[in-house]
């Protein structure tokens, strides 16, 4: 999986989470349901956090694309010095994925500290994998 595929996967995951929570919340609101997802503070804050991550990703890609079009590399160089255009968005999207993984473990397993280690492992691996993909693309690998 290249960096482009990984970033696309995380972005779709965030959009999916926002969509399903919004759908459930709006369904309850439209039908005056007795039980609503908006009564659950965890999911309400998850939805607003993810929307913030997506908005921030949009802002960073716009800024990065503008800088990229105005940039240049010295003849003979194989890549850019800072690699900024390869790093854009990864932090925000992984932050969004972290929030999703945390709420999954809280809702399914409760706040038990014993299960929190699995969430930590998954999040740490996402971070590790993401930044290894950035390095692979930065040094000239398949994007």
């Amino acid at each position: 999986m290249g960096e482009t595929k990984f970033v696309g996967s995380l972005l779709l995951l965030l959009v999916f989470a926002v969509s399903i929570i919004s759908y459930a919340t709006n369904f309850a609101s439209d039908n005056n349901a007795n039980v609503s997802l908006s009564d659950d503070d965890d999911f309400t804050s998850l939805s607003s956090d993810l929307e913030g991550n997506i908005t921030q990703f949009n802002t960073e890609t716009n800024q990065s694309s503008k800088a990229f079009f105005e940039s240049e590399i010295t003849e003979g160089d194989e890549t850019t010095r800072t690699g900024g255009q390869f790093k854009v968005g990864m932090g925000d999207l992984i932050s969004g994925a972290k929030v999703i993984v945390n709420i999954i473990f809280v809702k399914i397993f409760g706040s038990d500290v014993g299960f929190a280690v699995f969430a930590t492992v998954i999040i740490a691996f996402l971070v590790y994998f993401g930044y290894r993909l950035i390095w692979q693309t930065w040094k000239g690998g398949f994007p």
């Binding site: 290249g2 999916f16 989470a17 399903i20 459930a24 007795n34 039980v35 997802l37 999911f43 709420i103």
Partner: protein, 112 residues
């Protein structure tokens, strides 16, 4: 001879939805198990049928299809008071997010 029942019998004359609420009141985990049944039928049935027809199984795909179908079955239950608990709603949404994570991170090059 009097009949002794373990649970209060549902009152059908009050309507089918009241009978269902009475059943859930007597057995609170009924809704959760019903939704698990819906999930299991779609997940296992789809998986087995795909294996039979194509020889390969796309587990994350069937997981997300089954979990979305469970969400669709679950949402109308939230309209009637006493039919489903907020905890079950949260778990159903959380399970759909689990399979979404697995699905989106398991796609290979060229797949959706």
């Amino acid at each position: 001879m009097s009949n002794h029942y373990l649970y209060d019998l549902p009152n059908i004359s009050a309507g089918a939805d009241k009978a269902l609420v009475g059943t859930v009141t007597a057995v609170p985990s009924f809704t959760g198990w019903f939704l698990f049944f819906v999930f299991g039928v779609i997940f296992l049935g789809g998986m087995v049928e795909q294996k039979r027809r194509t020889g390969i199984v796309d587990l994350p795909l069937w997981g997300i299809i089954a979990s979305l179908a469970t969400v669709v079955m679950m949402l109308p239950m939230t309209i009637i008071q006493g039919l489903i608990q907020i905890e079950v709603v949260g778990i159903v949404i959380a399970v759909s997010l689990v399979f979404a994570v697995w699905f989106f991170l398991s796609r290979s090059r060229g797949e959706v």
